[in-house]
Structure formats: structure tokens, C-alpha cells
């Protein structure tokens, strides 16, 4: 039951759902939710491999830095979302066309 394969499958489901959320949603906050899911899948993979294969703590260090980078990314991304909402009064991704021409 508890083996490397089950953790890899859970991580794969997390990654695929994050990918589908990023593609399917048209709300910028929902796209950031998908990015968080993908980063969690990567961190879970690191810890699972670190327990079942290499047996040292380097995977834990990687997971900690992934969490730090995800926190920084969420702070800056949500600041951009709030600024975008102040300008456009919406957070629909199709309205973000200022760089088109």
C-alpha cells in the first residue's frame, strides 16, 4: 500500500489536475491555484524519492525551497492580479490584451 508507486501516482494526479486547471479556467486567481497544485506535486515527488530511493534529506531541502518560491510567487502574482483588477475591473484572462499591438 505505502510504496513509492502510490506516492508517484498521487503526485501525477496532482500535476495533471493542476495542468487542466491552468488550461481550462479563465480566471487569473484560478490559474494561480493550478500553479500551486503543480508545485505541490513536485515537492511531494522530491520527498517520496528522498525516503524510498536516496535515503538522505536533500529532497526535504528541495521541498522547503519549493514552498518558499511558491509563497513568493503567490505574493507577487496576487499583487499583479489586484493591480490588474484596479485597471480593468475584471480578472478575466481574455481582457489582458494590453501587450497585443
Amino acid at each position: 500500500m505505502m510504496s513509492l508507486a502510490s506516492y508517484l501516482i498521487i503526485s501525477l494526479v496532482l500535476f495533471v489536475v493542476g495542468l487542466v486547471v491552468m488550461i481550462a479556467r479563465k480566471n487569473i486567481v484560478a490559474i494561480l491555484l493550478g500553479i500551486e497544485l503543480i508545485l505541490n506535486a513536485a515537492a511531494l515527488n522530491f520527498v517520496a524519492y528522498s525516503r524510498y530511493v536516496t535515503n538522505n534529506l536533500d529532497g526535504h531541502i528541495f521541498s522547503l525551497f519549493i514552498i518558499v518560491v511558491a509563497a513568493a510567487e503567490a505574493a507577487v502574482g496576487l499583487a499583479i492580479v489586484i493591480r490588474f483588477f484596479q485597471i480593468k475591473e475584471t480578472i478575466h484572462i481574455d481582457e489582458a490584451t494590453q501587450l497585443r499591438n
Binding site: 496532482l14 486547471v21 515537492a43 528522498s50 526535504h60 522547503l64 514552498i67 480578472i91
Partner: protein, 178 residues
């Protein structure tokens, strides 16, 4: 026995809440289901013996990121759910339509099958290390690793967090003109 129960409960919580993040119609509910997913992943970390990572996950994600996301939803929600027409799936327009969901599901299925094919080779041929179930605390060893082997990444991440803090404050500050 306890680990088995924790693993099953965490895996079920993770998978169910992840699917709920994908299919729910309300962005606020989506954020709350993301909270359930993160709690489940923290439980999976606990079953892997990663106590410090599990606690960090709970503190940083649930205390920080999800609260930030809920604030962003509450500050930017409103009009999209009221004024825009609903699409054929009954979703609000900002939550995607049938074309984006079709494309997303196609990409997801292709990626899933590709990875199942890759993983089936990896899992059957992987050399596994010796497994012991008496999890010692990882905190002191992680501390030593962070200030000895990985001290450059540690310092760079502190600069990254400072830059993110200042950058977020500058980007989101209220502007008088325009």
C-alpha cells in the same frame, strides 16, 4: 497501522479535494478545496517521515498562501459572477467554457497516459533503499544541511523573499493618477 490509516485518509483527502478544485463552479469554494488538498499533502509528508516539511507546509500554505488567495478572491470577485453570461456548462464565464475544458481534458489525458507509460518502467526497475519506520526527527539534521551544504540557496531565498515583499508592495500600491 497508524501510518496506513494516515496514508489512506491523506490520499483520499488529497485526491478528492484536487478533483473538487477542478470541477467546482465557485472560485471561493475552489480556494477552500485547495486548502483540503494542501492538508492532505501535509499528511502525506508526515507518512514519509518529513515532519519539518509537513509543518512548514501547514504554516506557509494554510497560514499564508491560501489566506492571500482568499483575500484576492474577495477583493477582485463581484462583477464577473453577476454580469457576465453563463456558458453552456452552467459555469460563470471566468471559470472556463466547454472549449477550454475540452482542450484541458485532452492535454490532461495525453499527459496522464504519457506519464503512466514512463512510470510503469520506472517503478518496476527502481532500486529501493532500506526502509525503516521509526521516523527520527529531521529538524536538527535539516538545520545543519541548510547552513552547511545549502547555505548559498538559503541566502538567495532570503533575497528572493525580500524582493517579493518589496515588489508586491510596489505593484499593488494605490496610484492617484490614471
Amino acid at each position: 497501522m497508524f501510518l496506513q490509516f494516515l496514508f489512506i485518509a491523506s490520499a483520499f483527502l488529497t485526491l478528492a479535494c484536487t478533483i473538487a478544485v477542478l470541477v467546482t463552479k465557485n472560485l471561493m469554494h475552489s480556494c477552500v478545496f485547495l486548502l483540503g488538498t494542501l492538508i492532505g499533502v501535509a499528511g502525506l509528508y508526515a507518512t514519509l517521515g518529513a515532519d519539518f516539511v509537513a509543518v512548514t507546509q501547514i504554516m506557509v500554505y494554510m497560514g499564508g498562501v491560501v489566506i492571500l488567495m482568499l483575500f484576492a478572491v474577495m477583493l477582485t470577485g463581484g462583477k464577473d459572477f453577476v454580469s457576465r453570461a453563463q456558458t453552456l456548462l452552467g459555469l460563470p464565464a471566468t471559470m472556463g467554457n466547454k472549449w477550454t475544458y475540452g482542450l484541458g481534458l485532452l492535454v490532461g489525458v495525453v499527459f496522464l497516459l504519457t506519464n503512466v507509460k514512463l512510470l510503469s518502467n520506472i517503478i518496476t526497475t527502481l532500486p529501493t533503499a532500506e526502509i525503516n519506520n521509526d521516523f527520527p526527527s529531521t529538524v536538527s539534521r535539516l538545520g545543519h544541511l541548510l547552513v552547511k551544504d545549502h547555505v548559498l540557496a538559503f541566502e538567495i531565498s532570503s533575497v528572493l523573499l525580500l524582493g517579493a515583499l518589496v515588489g508586491a508592495a510596489i505593484i499593488a500600491r494605490p496610484r492617484k493618477h490614471n
